[in-house]
Symmetry: C2
Subunit: 92 residues, 2 copies
């Protein structure tokens, strides 16, 4: 979830053509911390997330909705049974 939140925030920032520096200044978060959040290395608190979303003029609900959809796809993929490669079938 942490990685997906970071990914969504980074995608939105890049789509808006904003730099890490601009968003970190506007959200009052250190540049290093924001970068770590975007890379899914740091867990952002609810308050910090709200602040970053504010700087991107993006409703937090939209981020969560995006993350929820991405996560649902991952959960589904995790349930799909693995297909055995043809080679191992031939060898059997």
């Amino acid at each position: 979830m942490r990685e997906l939140i970071g990914e969504s925030l980074r995608e939105e920032r890049v789509a808006q053509g904003k730099t890490l520096r601009e968003v970190s200044k506007s959200a009052r978060v250190s540049l290093g911390y924001l970068s770590e959040v975007e890379r899914g290395q740091k867990e952002a608190s609810s308050e910090l997330l709200a602040s970053i979303c504010g700087a991107l003029d993006l409703p937090l609900s939209t981020v969560l909705s995006t993350v929820s959809e991405k996560l649902a796809r991952q959960e589904l993929l995790a349930k799909v049974p693995t297909i055995r490669p043809v080679a191992s079938v031939a060898a059997a």
Copy 2:
């Protein structure tokens, strides 16, 4: 967001007729911590959230989707202009 996540987890646990003790044991989280997460007093890490969802046999994506919808409603309400009470209109 923290409060809404806690609320959603508590609603689901109660709907399943499970006690805090049962879920905390199954999720390997202390009872006190789980209780604080449910009351929105502690921020749950992504890993902890996944663990609690696992104990409830509930996809994390479902929790996020619920939280996203509740949050969207709150964001919308925050934008609705306040209606002046009739008394102040009559006095104007």
